[in-house]
Amino acid sequence: MTTSTRHPSLHLVRHDASILGVRISTEEDPYLGLSTIAVLQAAIEVVTHDPEIRAVVLEGGIKHFSAGASRESLTVAGAGLRITGYVGEIPRLLLDMPVPLVAAMAGHAIGGGFVLGLWCDAVVLAEESLYGANFMALGFTPGMGSTVVMEEALGGYLGRELLYSGRLLKGRELRATGAALAHAVVARDGVDARAMALATEFAAAPREALVLLKRRLSSKRRAQLETAIVEEREMHKALFSKDSTGAAIAERYAVALPSGRGTS
């Protein structure tokens, strides 16, 4: 779980009259947690009440766009089931955002952190960074709707290959696969500019039309997400009720990241 003490509104930056930036994680705290939900809720509140905003750019830290769930949040007794439960709310909030969301994924995005980006309307990835849904490599089943969004983003066969293996790929390796998001990979130092260009292009349309289209595109994804979240939760209940799951994660998840915590 993240322990960010910053007020959620401090993660919001107005890039211009029509574009809101939302910092989903920081270098000090690259993990998903309750604070991620608070930041997204604050962003939705601002966008809902400000008719000038017509696009949102989701941003992360320099090295990590998002490192997913922390090691401790998955291995402390009883915690695994708790975090896999509430992080399901994150994709819901992304689909609830009234205007289009562009994920500027310059840094590494792994586990739930990768899936978080994929639930946005558009993504920009860096050639140099690592991406993947590494849940199975850590010893537990994928969550946050990854059992549907990975296939959407990468195609069925590559999506399933990466889900089963938990393998990470560099942005440039993802591009070489020709996957559905291959077009979205650029050099790392061009990610922010590309994301802003996309947001600016989207924001040229009238807000009312953008809100209607976002609602239409999200309703389709929402239906898939809701089914996936329920079934993924059942898988997590089955696994996290066993002590061996926490032990398996602890053994596999030993990356030293900020605050000495690991990464998922």
Binding site: L130, K170, V255, L257, T263
Partner: protein, 83 residues
């Protein structure tokens, strides 16, 4: 499995994963973190790919003991001897 082979596989994965190592000379005395600017996730990814390719396992907790590439190769040599 020779030490040279382990080094070659490790070097190849280093070049694929760590951008700071692309097109550079790689020697056993160098550090992944300091000389090539790798971050901790990238180090783990290099090791993970090397483990898969060599079909060897080294305990992830042992990674912190390896300060340079030579010491990392040592970990693989020990794993190969124990296998």
């Amino acid at each position: 499995m020779t030490r040279d082979h382990i080094f070659t596989v490790l070097k190849s994965n280093l070049e694929k994963v760590v951008d700071g190592a692309r097109g550079k000379e790689v020697s056993e005395a160098q550090s992944l973190l300091k000389d090539f600017g790798a971050d901790s996730l990238e180090v783990v990814e290099v090791v993970s790919r090397t483990m898969k390719e060599l079909k060897l396992k080294i305990p992830r907790t042992a990674l912190s003991e390896a300060n340079d590439i030579g010491q990392l190769v040592d970990l693989f040599v020990r794993a190969a001897e124990a296998a």
